[in-house]
């Protein structure tokens, strides 16, 4: 079936009232799940799985996929308003989103997040539709050395996340890398840094660290200045709440960057939306004309990562639907769902189930549109949250953080960890250490270590495997270039001084 005919057929199915309804249910549920910190799409989809046995598989798939990409829309809400990342993929959104909110531009940040999500989400579906099969073969060319290079490129972004001091940023990243090594080692089953606690055997979930360091650290820091603190400014009127034409202009490159990076990283089975969002943020800052303003509330710093984590959804469905290979927790459950409904996901899936595939693709166009329409009117409503006085808002952030962490693991131990990381975040803030590099190290550390050790096992201990393979060599060179960026800019400044 050629693409156009397939898509027409898909729209005919997806536009049936029942499927429209399920698409809406999925998108709405996804938005809610995304807004709530902790509870994520994998848990939601797994819990709804028994219900889907009663549904027609196409409707069920449309609904579950709606939860998956809908959550990406909602995830930015608490990042921007409360500095509490709703999903792991929205951690980067905290950096500029929350700063925008503090400047009274919460509405613009929420609006641009929704628009970026819509643009990139749609690009992701286009990619899924047109270039899925060749791209899946490209994804298979990626193995451990390439992942090592990708993770190194991600870690090199630390120089872009650094505030005033590169040394402090590197130190924070090292702490993050160390935290990522806590738990049972996959290769030898040895416990590392568990201090005899079985709760630490599976490591520390980075949602706990991110919420602790960002949200609790922020609240503790603000408590000191409580007598001075005023309500955050929230402009009145719908027009002042939505992004301006200038915001959209500033975000033009971020839309493209987020869409492409998110999709490409999503296609890789070992990628993931968190990495995609970090990399697109780094690229955005690297090419920006005003890099010094990143981290102080620039609109493209919200648009790029939010776009990337939405476009990643379309990318992640590529290996799932064309090869039957799940790349993330959520796609693994979607795979299990397909099996339970009696399908056989694999290389022949699309050609043997064209109706299901095309109705899913069509529903994703519809769903993204629904989410935009659903989310934009909510912006003014959500922005009102910031009118809440601090003595109400801060306890609410504490409560939301604890419920969020507890809902992930159901473990009181993790709440203790959350408190500990809150204090760490407070200490880092007092000593002027940036917290984003810590999260970056933690997110990438595990994958980086695994990829390096797998590569060395493949090459019987020779490091040359990392540079002998072309994709890996290119990405490692890019990583070195990124690391050298501060040096370049210093040389540049020096030359300009000489010239003038």
């Amino acid at each position: 079936m050629d693409v156009l005919a397939g898509l027409m057929h898909g729209f005919a199915l997806a536009l049936q009232p029942a499927n429209l309804l399920w698409c809406f249910v999925g998108c709405a549920l996804g938005t809610i799940v995304g807004i709530m910190p902790g509870l994520g799409p994998p848990a939601t989809i797994a819990m709804l799985l028994p219900l889907t046995f009663l549904m027609n598989p196409a409707s069920a798939m449309i609904m579950l996929a709606g939860i998956y990409y809908g959550a990406k829309y909602g995830g930015s809400t608490t990042s921007i308003l409360l500095n509490v990342p709703g999903e792991s993929a929205s951690i980067v959104t905290c950096l500029d989103g929350y700063q925008m909110a503090k400047k009274g531009r919460a509405g613009a940040a929420l609006g641009i997040a929704a628009i970026a999500s819509f643009v990139a989400g749609t690009v992701g579906v286009l990619g899924l539709m047109f270039i899925a099969p060749p791209l899946a073969r490209f994804a298979l060319a990626f193995s451990s050395p390439e992942y090592f290079a990708l993770m190194s490129l991600g870690l090199a972004m630390v120089v872009l996340l650094a505030g005033h001091s590169i040394v402090k940023a590197l130190l924070a990243m090292l702490v993050g890398l160390w935290i990522s090594s806590i738990g049972t080692d996959l290769f030898s089953s040895t416990s590392r840094f568990t201090f005899g606690r079985m709760e630490l055997l599976s490591g520390i979930d980075f949602v706990v660290v991110a919420i602790g360091v960002f949200a609790l650290g922020e609240v503790l820091g603000n408590l000191e200045a409580i007598e001075k603190s005023q309500l955050l400014p929230v402009p009145k009127g719908l027009r002042n709440l939505l992004p301006t034409v200038q915001d959209l202009k500033d975000s033009r490159f971020a839309f493209a960057n987020g869409s492409i990076v998110g999709f490409l990283v999503g296609v890789l089975p070992g990628g993931g939306s968190t990495i995609a969002s970090f990399i697109s943020y780094g690229i955005e800052k690297a090419v920006s004309k005003r890099p010094e303003q990143f981290g102080h509330g620039v609109v493209e710093g919200v648009a790029a990562p939010e776009g990337a984590n939405n476009s990643e959804t379309g990318g992640a469905l590529v290996p799932l639907l064309t090869l039957g290979i799940p790349g993330s927790g959520t796609t693994a459950i979607l795979l299990a769902a397909l099996v339970l409904w009696g399908f056989k996901p694999g290389p022949l899936f699309i050609s043997e189930n064209p109706s299901l595939f095309w109705s899913l693709v069509a529903s994703m166009y519809i769903g993204n549109l629904m989410l935009l329409v659903l989310n934009l009117p909510l912006v003014p409503l959500f922005a009102q949250v910031l009118r809440t006085p601090a003595y109400v808002l801060y306890p609410v952030i504490f409560g939301v953080s604890m419920v969020g962490v507890y809902s992930v693991s159901g473990s009181v131990f993790d709440i203790g960890l959350l408190a500990g990381f809150g204090l760490l975040g407070y200490g880092m803030r007092k000593l002027d250490f940036p917290s984003a590099p810590l999260i970056l190290g933690l997110v990438l550390g595990g994958a980086l270590e695994r990829a390096l050790r797998q590569s060395l096992m493949m090459s019987e201990g020779s490091l040359s495997i990392l540079v002998a393979r072309p994709i890996s060599a290119v990405m490692l060179s890019l990583a070195v270039l990124v690391l050298l960026m501060p040096v370049f800019s210093r040389i540049n400044a020096w030359r300009q001084k000489l010239l003038s």
């Binding site: 848990a43 416990s191 630490l200």
Partner: protein, 321 residues
């Protein structure tokens, strides 16, 4: 309504016959050691769906996820619930092998009350379709000629994948590298991308890759040939006299519950394994019916733990108990 009442009466009668009056009165808490969507979680949710559909229990069941520590967190949680009649848990072989290598694990499967073994997951030994190996001995001889050159992708070092490798290495004298990947998808991608040469894969995962002509199966890790793979030799038929290590799943209860409760649960799960829905579930996932009652399961623990301890020790994994 009438059949429901008749059913309830029937159930009460059955209950008295088997369990001298134990009947759950509150919702049952079903503990699993993975997050939502993990293997145990999906099995538990499917079992709950079937039990509700077939009305095998008078109360509802609620799946509770206690992830962490390769099963040790869930096992400890069950141990804390000693004597609690409304809690059960789903275990896997990891609950037996995990404590062998981690000193942090305070509770082992043997501290809990066995109820029933439900599922055995067989496996296949697969290579990429364009690989030169036509049989398992082709592979092992190549591994013997060039030791350490061939690679296998798999899970953790205590996983069944590695145990099968250890057994085959010992039987054939070949030696190849085992590379751990945390996700099943990554293991398959590494094989299909040509980055590793072989993997131990579950039949349901492999089926479509074989049909699409991307993968070839050399042998099955099973005592008898699976219905879906009638032409693939078992390990023994392929000339390797090694035990077919199963991936096992079943049900346990907290310690210190009365014998009547054990009998009640045994009965529920025996009835479950006889339903058509259960048989279809096994067939869809290409699992084997591994039903054993409580007494048989307790004996299985000991045999399995003993075998695994020996194999892991030989593989150079540090054993702490």
């Amino acid at each position: 309504m009438a059949p429901k009442i008749a059913f309830l009466i029937g159930l009460t009668l059955a209950g008295t016959a088997f369990a001298q009056g134990f009947k759950p009165t509150r919702p049952i808490e079903v503990v699993v050691h993975t997050g939502p969507g993990g293997g145990s979680d999906l099995l538990a949710r499917s079992v709950v769906a079937i039990i509700e559909k077939e009305k095998l229990l008078p109360v509802r069941m609620q799946v509770v996820n206690k992830p962490g520590g390769g099963g040790t967190v869930a096992a400890s949680y069950l141990a804390e619930k000693a004597g609690e009649p409304h809690t059960i848990g789903f275990f896997t072989g990891v609950w037996l092998t995990g404590p062998l290598t981690s000193a942090e694990a305070k509770v082992t499967l043997r501290d809990l009350t066995p109820i029933a073994r439900l599922v055995l997951e067989p496996a296949l030994i697969a290579v990429k379709a364009d690989a030169p190996f036509k049989s398992l001995s082709d592979f092992t001889s190549a591994a013997k000629e060039k030791p350490g050159q061939l690679k296998q992708s798999g899970g953790s070092v205590t996983s069944r994948d590695n145990v099968v490798r250890q057994l085959l290495q010992r039987a054939s004298g070949g030696r190849w590298v085992f590379i751990s990947f945390p996700g099943g998808g990554e293991r398959i991608a590494a094989l299909l991308g040509g980055h590793v040469n072989m993997m131990v894969i579950e039949p349901a995962e492999a089926g479509e890759h074989i049909r699409a002509g991307n993968m070839r199966v050399l042998a099955q890790v099973s005592d008898r040939r699976l219905a879906a793979f009638p032409n693939v030799p078992t390990l023994k038929e392929a000339g390797f006299d090694v035990p077919a290590v199963p991936q096992v799943r079943g049900v346990v209860a907290p310690p210190g519950i009365p014998a009547a409760n054990v009998a009640y649960w045994e009965d529920v799960f025996r009835k479950l394994t006889r339903t058509a829905s259960w048989k279809k579930y096994l067939e869809d996932n290409q699992f084997e019916d591994g039903y054993q009652n409580a007494a048989e399961l307790a004996k299985f623990y000991d045999d399995f733990t003993g075998t695994m301890r020996g194999i892991l020790q030989e593989a150079g994994v540090k054993i702490v108990r």
